[in-house]
Protein backbone atom coordinates (compact mmCIF):
# COMPACT_ATOMS: atom_id res chain seq x y z
CA UNK A 1 0.00 0.00 0.00
CA UNK A 2 1.48 3.30 -1.14
CA UNK A 3 -1.06 5.94 -0.15
CA UNK A 4 -3.45 5.87 2.77
CA UNK A 5 -6.07 8.61 2.92
CA UNK A 6 -7.90 9.29 6.17
CA UNK A 7 -11.09 11.30 5.72
CA UNK A 8 -11.75 13.03 9.03
CA UNK A 9 -9.34 14.73 11.43
CA UNK A 10 -10.99 14.26 14.79
CA UNK A 11 -10.19 11.60 17.40
CA UNK A 12 -11.00 8.55 15.24
CA UNK A 13 -9.16 9.87 12.18
CA UNK A 14 -6.12 10.82 14.24
CA UNK A 15 -6.21 7.45 16.01
CA UNK A 16 -6.33 5.68 12.65
CA UNK A 17 -3.34 7.66 11.40
CA UNK A 18 -1.38 6.90 14.57
CA UNK A 19 -2.31 3.23 14.36
CA UNK A 20 -1.15 3.04 10.74
CA UNK A 21 2.27 4.40 11.66
CA UNK A 22 2.45 2.26 14.80
CA UNK A 23 1.69 -0.80 12.67
CA UNK A 24 4.54 -0.02 10.33
CA UNK A 25 2.85 1.80 7.45
CA UNK A 26 5.66 3.82 5.85
CA UNK A 27 3.86 5.17 2.78
CA UNK A 28 2.16 8.47 2.05
CA UNK A 29 -0.38 9.38 4.71
CA UNK A 30 -2.95 12.09 3.99
CA UNK A 31 -5.44 13.37 6.57
CA UNK A 32 -8.40 15.40 5.34
CA UNK A 33 -10.39 17.46 7.88
CA UNK A 34 -13.53 19.51 7.21
CA UNK A 35 -12.82 21.83 10.14
CA UNK A 36 -9.92 24.27 10.03
CA UNK A 37 -8.82 23.30 13.53
CA UNK A 38 -6.21 20.64 14.08
CA UNK A 39 -7.58 17.62 15.99
CA UNK A 40 -9.16 18.57 19.30
CA UNK A 41 -10.93 16.78 22.10
CA UNK A 42 -14.71 17.20 22.08
CA UNK A 43 -15.90 15.92 25.47
CA UNK A 44 -14.71 19.01 27.40
CA UNK A 45 -16.65 21.30 25.05
CA UNK A 46 -19.83 20.89 27.11
CA UNK A 47 -18.01 20.80 30.45
CA UNK A 48 -14.67 22.40 31.39
CA UNK A 49 -14.27 24.37 28.16
CA UNK A 50 -17.80 25.74 28.26
CA UNK A 51 -17.30 26.61 31.92
CA UNK A 52 -14.16 28.56 31.03
CA UNK A 53 -11.91 26.35 33.15
CA UNK A 54 -9.70 25.24 30.28
CA UNK A 55 -8.49 26.89 27.09
CA UNK A 56 -8.54 25.96 23.42
CA UNK A 57 -4.88 24.97 23.64
CA UNK A 58 -5.82 22.45 26.34
CA UNK A 59 -8.15 20.70 23.87
CA UNK A 60 -5.37 19.83 21.42
CA UNK A 61 -5.18 16.11 20.68
CA UNK A 62 -2.04 16.02 18.61
CA UNK A 63 1.35 16.74 20.03
CA UNK A 64 4.17 18.61 18.41
CA UNK A 65 6.29 15.50 18.71
CA UNK A 66 3.69 13.35 16.97
CA UNK A 67 5.86 11.73 14.35
CA UNK A 68 3.07 11.01 11.92
CA UNK A 69 4.78 12.43 8.82
CA UNK A 70 1.30 13.09 7.47
CA UNK A 71 -0.02 15.62 4.96
CA UNK A 72 -2.81 17.55 6.63
CA UNK A 73 -5.54 19.03 4.46
CA UNK A 74 -7.66 21.02 6.92
CA UNK A 75 -10.72 23.11 6.12
CA UNK A 76 -11.36 20.84 3.16
CA UNK A 77 -14.26 18.43 2.78
CA UNK A 78 -14.36 15.17 0.92
CA UNK A 79 -17.28 15.49 -1.50
CA UNK A 80 -17.18 12.27 -3.52
CA UNK A 81 -15.61 8.83 -3.36
CA UNK A 82 -15.05 6.87 -6.54
CA UNK A 83 -14.63 3.31 -5.37
CA UNK A 84 -13.68 2.00 -8.82
CA UNK A 85 -10.69 4.25 -9.32
CA UNK A 86 -10.14 4.73 -5.56
CA UNK A 87 -10.10 8.50 -5.74
CA UNK A 88 -11.48 11.03 -3.32
CA UNK A 89 -12.74 14.34 -4.67
CA UNK A 90 -12.29 17.33 -2.36
CA UNK A 91 -14.28 20.53 -1.93
CA UNK A 92 -11.37 22.63 -3.20
CA UNK A 93 -11.43 20.83 -6.53
CA UNK A 94 -8.46 18.58 -5.88
CA UNK A 95 -8.68 14.83 -5.97
CA UNK A 96 -6.62 12.24 -4.16
CA UNK A 97 -5.73 8.79 -5.45
CA UNK A 98 -5.57 6.25 -2.66
CA UNK A 99 -4.68 2.62 -2.13
CA UNK A 100 -6.53 2.54 1.17
CA UNK A 101 -9.16 4.82 2.66
CA UNK A 102 -10.27 5.30 6.26
CA UNK A 103 -13.69 6.92 6.54
CA UNK A 104 -13.77 8.94 9.78
CA UNK A 105 -16.14 11.77 8.94
CA UNK A 106 -17.99 11.68 12.26
CA UNK A 107 -21.47 13.01 12.80
CA UNK A 108 -23.23 16.35 12.84
CA UNK A 109 -25.57 17.78 15.42
CA UNK A 110 -29.21 17.40 14.44
CA UNK A 111 -31.07 20.67 14.16
CA UNK A 112 -34.72 21.65 14.50
CA UNK A 113 -35.62 23.04 11.07
CA UNK A 114 -38.26 25.43 12.44
CA UNK A 115 -35.68 27.38 14.48
CA UNK A 116 -32.51 26.70 12.54
CA UNK A 117 -30.86 30.04 11.89
CA UNK A 118 -32.45 31.86 14.83
CA UNK A 119 -29.80 33.98 16.48
CA UNK A 120 -30.25 32.55 20.00
CA UNK A 121 -30.50 28.88 19.02
CA UNK A 122 -27.37 26.78 19.43
CA UNK A 123 -26.11 23.25 18.95
CA UNK A 124 -22.95 21.92 20.59
CA UNK A 125 -20.74 19.63 18.60
CA UNK A 126 -17.73 21.58 17.38
CA UNK A 127 -15.22 24.00 18.85
CA UNK A 128 -16.89 26.83 16.93
CA UNK A 129 -20.26 25.85 18.47
CA UNK A 130 -18.72 25.90 21.94
CA UNK A 131 -17.02 29.26 21.39
CA UNK A 132 -20.36 30.76 20.34
CA UNK A 133 -22.27 29.31 23.27
CA UNK A 134 -19.60 30.14 25.84
CA UNK A 135 -20.12 33.85 25.23
CA UNK A 136 -23.81 33.48 26.03
CA UNK A 137 -23.56 31.95 29.50
CA UNK A 138 -24.29 34.97 31.66
CA UNK A 139 -25.86 34.68 35.10
CA UNK A 140 -29.61 35.21 35.29
CA UNK A 141 -30.32 34.40 31.66
CA UNK A 142 -32.93 31.80 30.86
CA UNK A 143 -31.79 28.77 28.92
CA UNK A 144 -34.12 26.16 27.48
CA UNK A 145 -32.40 22.89 26.59
CA UNK A 146 -34.15 20.65 24.09
CA UNK A 147 -33.22 17.03 24.74
CA UNK A 148 -31.73 15.39 27.83
CA UNK A 149 -29.06 13.26 26.21
CA UNK A 150 -25.37 13.80 26.99
CA UNK A 151 -25.06 17.20 25.37
CA UNK A 152 -28.30 18.48 26.85
CA UNK A 153 -27.65 17.14 30.33
CA UNK A 154 -24.04 18.27 30.52
CA UNK A 155 -24.73 21.70 29.09
CA UNK A 156 -27.61 22.16 31.53
CA UNK A 157 -25.24 21.32 34.37
CA UNK A 158 -22.55 23.73 33.17
CA UNK A 159 -25.04 26.54 32.50
CA UNK A 160 -26.66 26.12 35.90
CA UNK A 161 -23.26 26.32 37.58
CA UNK A 162 -22.68 29.56 35.64
CA UNK A 163 -25.81 31.01 37.24
CA UNK A 164 -28.37 30.60 34.47
CA UNK A 165 -31.97 29.51 34.96
CA UNK A 166 -32.14 26.25 33.08
CA UNK A 167 -35.10 24.15 31.94
CA UNK A 168 -34.59 20.87 30.09
CA UNK A 169 -37.33 19.45 27.89
CA UNK A 170 -37.18 15.73 27.18
CA UNK A 171 -39.69 13.78 25.12
CA UNK A 172 -39.07 10.42 26.76
CA UNK A 173 -39.83 9.52 30.36
CA UNK A 174 -36.29 10.05 31.69
CA UNK A 175 -33.01 11.72 30.74
CA UNK A 176 -30.41 9.54 29.02
CA UNK A 177 -33.01 6.79 28.79
CA UNK A 178 -31.67 5.69 25.42
CA UNK A 179 -28.19 5.16 26.85
CA UNK A 180 -29.03 3.98 30.37
CA UNK A 181 -32.51 2.48 30.04
CA UNK A 182 -35.61 4.03 31.53
CA UNK A 183 -35.09 2.78 35.09
CA UNK A 184 -31.57 4.11 35.57
CA UNK A 185 -32.33 7.20 33.50
CA UNK A 186 -34.94 8.04 36.12
CA UNK A 187 -32.41 7.45 38.89
CA UNK A 188 -29.96 9.84 37.26
CA UNK A 189 -32.72 12.43 36.78
CA UNK A 190 -32.40 13.18 40.48
CA UNK A 191 -29.06 14.85 39.77
CA UNK A 192 -30.77 17.57 37.77
CA UNK A 193 -33.34 18.31 40.43
CA UNK A 194 -30.65 18.38 43.12
CA UNK A 195 -28.61 20.66 40.88
CA UNK A 196 -31.44 23.15 40.56
CA UNK A 197 -32.43 22.46 36.96
CA UNK A 198 -36.06 21.96 35.92
CA UNK A 199 -36.25 18.66 34.08
CA UNK A 200 -39.51 18.28 32.18
CA UNK A 201 -39.67 14.68 30.99
CA UNK A 202 -42.44 13.19 28.88
CA UNK A 203 -42.87 16.64 27.40
CA UNK A 204 -42.91 17.71 23.78
CA UNK A 205 -42.56 21.08 22.15
CA UNK A 206 -45.63 22.35 20.34
CA UNK A 207 -44.09 25.43 18.77
CA UNK A 208 -41.61 28.26 19.14
CA UNK A 209 -42.51 31.94 19.35
CA UNK A 210 -40.02 33.81 17.23
CA UNK A 211 -39.50 37.54 17.50
CA UNK A 212 -37.05 39.48 15.36
CA UNK A 213 -35.12 36.41 14.31
CA UNK A 214 -34.74 34.92 17.75
CA UNK A 215 -36.82 32.56 19.86
CA UNK A 216 -38.66 34.38 22.65
CA UNK A 217 -40.70 31.49 24.04
CA UNK A 218 -40.82 27.73 23.79
CA UNK A 219 -44.42 26.51 23.78
CA UNK A 220 -45.00 23.06 25.26
CA UNK A 221 -47.66 20.55 24.34
CA UNK A 222 -49.50 21.23 27.60
CA UNK A 223 -49.80 24.89 26.66
CA UNK A 224 -47.08 26.24 28.94
CA UNK A 225 -44.85 28.92 27.49
CA UNK A 226 -41.23 29.05 28.63
CA UNK A 227 -39.42 32.36 28.10
CA UNK A 228 -35.99 31.77 26.57
CA UNK A 229 -32.89 33.91 26.18
CA UNK A 230 -30.95 30.96 24.82
CA UNK A 231 -32.12 27.67 23.30
CA UNK A 232 -29.73 24.74 23.14
CA UNK A 233 -30.77 21.94 20.81
CA UNK A 234 -29.32 18.61 21.91
CA UNK A 235 -31.31 16.08 19.93
CA UNK A 236 -28.52 13.77 18.83
CA UNK A 237 -26.23 13.44 15.88
CA UNK A 238 -26.50 12.09 12.38
CA UNK A 239 -23.60 10.37 10.64
CA UNK A 240 -21.84 12.38 7.95
CA UNK A 241 -22.37 9.91 5.14
CA UNK A 242 -24.42 11.83 2.55
CA UNK A 243 -21.32 12.37 0.44
CA UNK A 244 -21.06 8.59 0.05
CA UNK A 245 -24.53 8.15 -1.48
CA UNK A 246 -24.16 6.46 -4.84
CA UNK A 247 -20.51 5.54 -4.18
CA UNK A 248 -21.30 1.86 -3.79
CA UNK A 249 -20.43 1.91 -0.08
CA UNK A 250 -23.29 0.30 1.82
CA UNK A 251 -25.00 2.71 4.16
CA UNK A 252 -27.58 2.29 6.87
CA UNK A 253 -27.47 4.22 10.11
CA UNK A 254 -23.87 5.04 9.25
CA UNK A 255 -21.35 3.22 7.07
CA UNK A 256 -22.08 -0.49 7.37
CA UNK A 257 -18.99 -2.45 8.36
CA UNK A 258 -18.02 -5.91 9.52
CA UNK A 259 -16.77 -6.51 13.06
CA UNK A 260 -13.36 -5.09 12.18
CA UNK A 261 -14.53 -1.92 10.46
CA UNK A 262 -14.29 -3.17 6.87
CA UNK A 263 -16.87 -1.81 4.46
CA UNK A 264 -18.26 -3.79 1.53
CA UNK A 265 -15.54 -2.26 -0.67
CA UNK A 266 -12.04 -3.74 -0.29
CA UNK A 267 -9.40 -1.36 1.11
CA UNK A 268 -11.99 0.98 2.63
CA UNK A 269 -12.69 0.91 6.35
CA UNK A 270 -14.80 3.19 8.55
CA UNK A 271 -14.27 4.27 12.17
CA UNK A 272 -15.74 6.60 14.76
CA UNK A 273 -19.17 8.18 14.83
CA UNK A 274 -19.87 7.64 11.12
CA UNK A 275 -19.34 3.88 11.29
CA UNK A 276 -21.81 1.12 12.18
CA UNK A 277 -19.75 -1.99 12.90
CA UNK A 278 -21.27 -5.45 13.02
CA UNK A 279 -21.78 -6.50 16.63
CA UNK A 280 -21.78 -10.24 17.29
CA UNK A 281 -23.66 -9.93 20.55
CA UNK A 282 -26.41 -7.73 19.17
CA UNK A 283 -26.39 -9.51 15.80
CA UNK A 284 -26.83 -6.12 14.21
CA UNK A 285 -24.86 -3.16 12.92
CA UNK A 286 -24.33 -0.73 15.75
CA UNK A 287 -23.09 2.83 15.54
CA UNK A 288 -21.10 3.69 18.67
CA UNK A 289 -20.79 7.43 19.24
CA UNK A 290 -18.41 7.41 22.17
CA UNK A 291 -14.94 8.79 22.69
CA UNK A 292 -13.41 5.48 23.75
CA UNK A 293 -14.63 3.76 20.60
CA UNK A 294 -13.08 6.51 18.50
CA UNK A 295 -9.82 6.03 20.41
CA UNK A 296 -9.58 2.23 20.45
CA UNK A 297 -11.34 0.86 17.40
CA UNK A 298 -9.32 2.52 14.62
CA UNK A 299 -6.33 0.28 15.48
CA UNK A 300 -8.47 -2.77 14.66
CA UNK A 301 -9.75 -1.32 11.42
CA UNK A 302 -6.28 -0.25 10.33
CA UNK A 303 -4.92 -3.71 11.11
CA UNK A 304 -7.66 -5.21 8.96
CA UNK A 305 -6.84 -2.74 6.19
CA UNK A 306 -3.07 -3.14 6.23
CA UNK A 307 -2.77 -6.81 7.09
CA UNK A 308 -6.10 -8.28 6.06
CA UNK A 309 -7.07 -11.67 7.43
CA UNK A 310 -8.48 -12.17 10.88
CA UNK A 311 -8.37 -9.61 13.62
CA UNK A 312 -6.86 -10.95 16.80
CA UNK A 313 -8.25 -8.52 19.34
CA UNK A 314 -11.76 -8.22 20.68
CA UNK A 315 -13.75 -5.04 20.51
CA UNK A 316 -14.37 -3.83 24.02
CA UNK A 317 -17.97 -3.02 24.94
CA UNK A 318 -18.86 0.65 24.52
CA UNK A 319 -17.75 2.79 27.46
CA UNK A 320 -18.67 6.38 28.21
CA UNK A 321 -18.55 8.83 31.05
CA UNK A 322 -20.36 12.04 31.83
CA UNK A 323 -19.78 14.69 34.49
CA UNK A 324 -22.92 16.43 35.70
CA UNK A 325 -23.49 18.57 38.79
CA UNK A 326 -20.23 17.36 40.28
CA UNK A 327 -21.20 13.71 39.87
CA UNK A 328 -19.26 11.29 37.71
CA UNK A 329 -21.44 8.94 35.66
CA UNK A 330 -19.79 5.98 33.90
CA UNK A 331 -21.37 3.27 31.79
CA UNK A 332 -19.99 0.25 29.96
CA UNK A 333 -21.69 -2.47 27.97
CA UNK A 334 -24.91 -2.81 26.01
CA UNK A 335 -28.20 -1.83 27.58
CA UNK A 336 -29.99 -3.68 24.78
CA UNK A 337 -31.51 -6.98 25.86
CA UNK A 338 -31.19 -6.61 29.62
CA UNK A 339 -34.14 -7.81 31.70
CA UNK A 340 -33.22 -6.44 35.11
CA UNK A 341 -30.93 -3.97 36.82
CA UNK A 342 -29.45 -4.68 40.22
CA UNK A 343 -27.81 -2.11 42.49
CA UNK A 344 -24.66 -3.83 43.79
CA UNK A 345 -23.03 -1.00 45.77
CA UNK A 346 -24.33 2.18 47.38
CA UNK A 347 -27.90 3.32 46.93
CA UNK A 348 -29.83 5.43 44.46
CA UNK A 349 -30.90 8.02 47.05
CA UNK A 350 -27.30 8.94 47.87
CA UNK A 351 -26.43 9.54 44.19
CA UNK A 352 -23.60 7.10 44.70
CA UNK A 353 -24.27 3.64 43.37
CA UNK A 354 -23.14 0.89 41.07
CA UNK A 355 -25.82 -0.93 39.09
CA UNK A 356 -25.35 -4.06 36.97
CA UNK A 357 -27.60 -4.86 34.01
CA UNK A 358 -28.36 -8.55 33.52
CA UNK A 359 -29.76 -10.55 30.62
CA UNK A 360 -30.78 -13.67 32.49
CA UNK A 361 -27.71 -14.49 34.57
CA UNK A 362 -25.27 -12.75 32.28
CA UNK A 363 -24.06 -9.26 33.22
CA UNK A 364 -24.25 -7.17 30.03
CA UNK A 365 -23.66 -3.63 31.26
CA UNK A 366 -22.69 -1.62 34.31
CA UNK A 367 -23.51 1.90 35.45
CA UNK A 368 -21.58 3.75 38.12
CA UNK A 369 -22.47 7.08 39.68
CA UNK A 370 -19.63 8.30 41.88
CA UNK A 371 -18.36 4.71 42.15
CA UNK A 372 -15.21 4.95 40.08
CA UNK A 373 -13.24 2.18 41.74
CA UNK A 374 -16.00 -0.44 41.66
CA UNK A 375 -16.92 0.62 38.15
CA UNK A 376 -13.36 0.06 36.92
CA UNK A 377 -13.43 -3.53 38.20
CA UNK A 378 -16.72 -4.24 36.47
CA UNK A 379 -15.63 -2.64 33.26
CA UNK A 380 -12.51 -4.83 33.20
CA UNK A 381 -14.72 -7.85 33.81
CA UNK A 382 -16.99 -6.95 30.87
CA UNK A 383 -13.94 -6.41 28.66
CA UNK A 384 -12.70 -9.90 29.48
CA UNK A 385 -16.15 -11.35 28.85
CA UNK A 386 -16.18 -9.66 25.44
CA UNK A 387 -13.03 -11.54 24.51
CA UNK A 388 -15.15 -14.66 24.30
CA UNK A 389 -16.64 -13.08 21.21
CA UNK A 390 -13.21 -12.50 19.71
CA UNK A 391 -13.08 -16.02 18.37
CA UNK A 392 -16.15 -15.43 16.27
CA UNK A 393 -15.10 -14.73 12.70
CA UNK A 394 -14.60 -11.04 12.01
CA UNK A 395 -17.36 -11.60 9.52
CA UNK A 396 -17.64 -11.85 5.83
CA UNK A 397 -19.44 -8.65 5.00
CA UNK A 398 -22.20 -10.50 3.17
CA UNK A 399 -23.00 -12.58 6.24
CA UNK A 400 -23.07 -9.52 8.43
CA UNK A 401 -25.27 -7.25 6.41
Amino acid sequence: MQTLVVIGASLSGLSAARAARAQGFAGRLVIVGAELHPPYDRPPLSKDFLAGRISEADLALSEVDDDLAAEWLLGVKAVRLDTESMTVALSDGRSLAADGVVLATGASARVLPEVDGCSNVFTLRTLDDARALRGQLQPGRKMVVVGAGFIGAETASTARAAGLDVTVIERSAAPLSGALGAEMGAAVAGLHAAGGVDMLCGTSIKSFRILGGSVSHVVLDDGRELPADIVLVGVGGQPNTDWLLGSGIQLGNGVLCDAAGRTNIPSIVAVGDCAAWWNHRLQAHHRVEHWTGALERPALAVAALLQGGTVPRAVHPPYFWSDQYGSRIQFAGHVHGHDRVQVEHGCLEDQSFLAVYYAGDEPVAVLGVNQVRQFTRWRKFLNREAERYADAPAGAFAAAS
Binding site: D41, P44, D48, R53, I54, S55, D58, L61, E63, W291, T292, L295, W321, Q330, V372, R373, F375, T376, R377, K380
Partner: protein, 116 residues
Protein backbone atom coordinates in the same frame (compact mmCIF):
# COMPACT_ATOMS: atom_id res chain seq x y z
CA UNK B 1 6.56 13.40 55.32
CA UNK B 2 2.95 12.34 54.99
CA UNK B 3 1.51 9.54 57.07
CA UNK B 4 -0.56 7.20 54.90
CA UNK B 5 -1.90 4.32 57.01
CA UNK B 6 -0.73 1.21 58.85
CA UNK B 7 0.70 -1.32 56.39
CA UNK B 8 -1.72 -3.88 57.80
CA UNK B 9 -4.63 -1.80 56.51
CA UNK B 10 -3.47 -1.74 52.89
CA UNK B 11 -3.73 -5.26 51.51
CA UNK B 12 -1.94 -6.29 48.31
CA UNK B 13 -4.05 -5.13 45.36
CA UNK B 14 -5.36 -2.12 47.27
CA UNK B 15 -4.69 1.59 46.96
CA UNK B 16 -5.47 4.66 49.03
CA UNK B 17 -5.65 8.34 48.25
CA UNK B 18 -4.00 10.80 50.62
CA UNK B 19 -5.73 14.17 51.02
CA UNK B 20 -2.53 16.08 50.45
CA UNK B 21 -2.22 19.05 48.08
CA UNK B 22 -2.12 17.74 45.43
CA UNK B 23 -3.44 14.32 46.47
CA UNK B 24 -1.10 11.32 46.45
CA UNK B 25 -2.01 7.71 45.68
CA UNK B 26 -0.31 4.84 47.48
CA UNK B 27 -0.46 1.39 45.86
CA UNK B 28 0.27 -2.00 47.39
CA UNK B 29 0.62 -4.28 44.37
CA UNK B 30 -0.34 -7.93 44.19
CA UNK B 31 3.39 -8.64 44.05
CA UNK B 32 3.78 -6.94 47.43
CA UNK B 33 5.52 -3.74 46.37
CA UNK B 34 4.56 -0.27 47.64
CA UNK B 35 4.46 2.73 45.33
CA UNK B 36 3.37 6.36 45.69
CA UNK B 37 2.59 8.69 42.79
CA UNK B 38 0.50 11.81 42.28
CA UNK B 39 -3.13 10.73 42.44
CA UNK B 40 -4.50 13.03 39.74
CA UNK B 41 -4.19 11.88 36.14
CA UNK B 42 -2.27 14.44 34.09
CA UNK B 43 -4.83 14.26 31.26
CA UNK B 44 -8.12 15.07 33.00
CA UNK B 45 -9.29 15.13 36.59
CA UNK B 46 -9.50 11.52 37.81
CA UNK B 47 -8.13 9.69 40.83
CA UNK B 48 -5.51 7.08 39.93
CA UNK B 49 -6.09 5.35 43.27
CA UNK B 50 -9.41 4.26 41.73
CA UNK B 51 -7.58 2.90 38.68
CA UNK B 52 -6.66 -0.59 37.57
CA UNK B 53 -3.25 -1.91 38.57
CA UNK B 54 -1.55 -4.61 36.54
CA UNK B 55 2.04 -5.44 37.31
CA UNK B 56 3.85 -2.16 37.74
CA UNK B 57 1.34 -0.03 35.87
CA UNK B 58 -1.84 1.82 36.80
CA UNK B 59 -4.57 2.53 34.25
CA UNK B 60 -6.59 5.71 34.74
CA UNK B 61 -10.23 4.85 35.53
CA UNK B 62 -11.57 7.54 33.20
CA UNK B 63 -9.73 7.37 29.87
CA UNK B 64 -7.32 4.45 30.29
CA UNK B 65 -4.05 6.38 30.22
CA UNK B 66 -1.37 4.19 31.79
CA UNK B 67 1.37 5.30 34.16
CA UNK B 68 4.41 3.36 35.28
CA UNK B 69 4.33 3.14 39.07
CA UNK B 70 8.12 2.98 39.31
CA UNK B 71 8.95 5.95 37.08
CA UNK B 72 5.70 7.90 36.78
CA UNK B 73 6.13 7.83 33.00
CA UNK B 74 3.22 7.58 30.56
CA UNK B 75 2.92 4.07 29.12
CA UNK B 76 -0.31 4.73 27.18
CA UNK B 77 -2.10 7.91 26.01
CA UNK B 78 -4.19 10.10 26.09
CA UNK B 79 -2.01 11.46 28.95
CA UNK B 80 1.14 13.15 27.69
CA UNK B 81 2.92 14.20 30.89
CA UNK B 82 4.24 11.97 33.70
CA UNK B 83 3.07 11.95 37.30
CA UNK B 84 5.57 12.54 40.09
CA UNK B 85 6.89 9.55 42.00
CA UNK B 86 7.21 9.79 45.79
CA UNK B 87 9.38 7.84 48.19
CA UNK B 88 7.60 5.28 50.36
CA UNK B 89 8.98 4.35 53.78
CA UNK B 90 7.49 1.87 56.22
CA UNK B 91 8.24 3.09 59.72
CA UNK B 92 7.10 1.05 62.73
CA UNK B 93 4.43 -0.63 60.61
CA UNK B 94 3.13 2.66 59.22
CA UNK B 95 3.34 3.66 55.56
CA UNK B 96 4.96 7.09 55.21
CA UNK B 97 5.40 9.10 52.02
CA UNK B 98 8.13 11.63 51.34
CA UNK B 99 6.68 13.96 48.71
CA UNK B 100 8.76 14.78 45.64
CA UNK B 101 9.97 18.36 45.39
CA UNK B 102 9.36 18.52 41.66
CA UNK B 103 6.50 20.56 40.19
CA UNK B 104 3.44 18.35 39.68
CA UNK B 105 1.90 17.97 36.20
CA UNK B 106 -1.76 18.60 36.93
CA UNK B 107 -4.41 18.40 34.20
CA UNK B 108 -5.75 21.59 32.59
CA UNK B 109 -8.21 23.37 34.86
CA UNK B 110 -6.89 21.76 38.05
CA UNK B 111 -4.63 23.51 40.55
CA UNK B 112 -2.78 22.08 43.53
CA UNK B 113 -5.73 22.88 45.79
CA UNK B 114 -8.42 21.67 43.39
CA UNK B 115 -10.33 23.34 40.61
CA UNK B 116 -9.40 26.78 39.31
Amino acid sequence: MHEACPLSQLAPGDAIRLDTSPPIAVFHTEEGELFAIDDTCTHQDASLADGWVEGCEVECPLHASKFNLRTGGVDAPPAKLPVRVHEVIVQDGTIMVRESEEEPNLPPGVKVDGYV
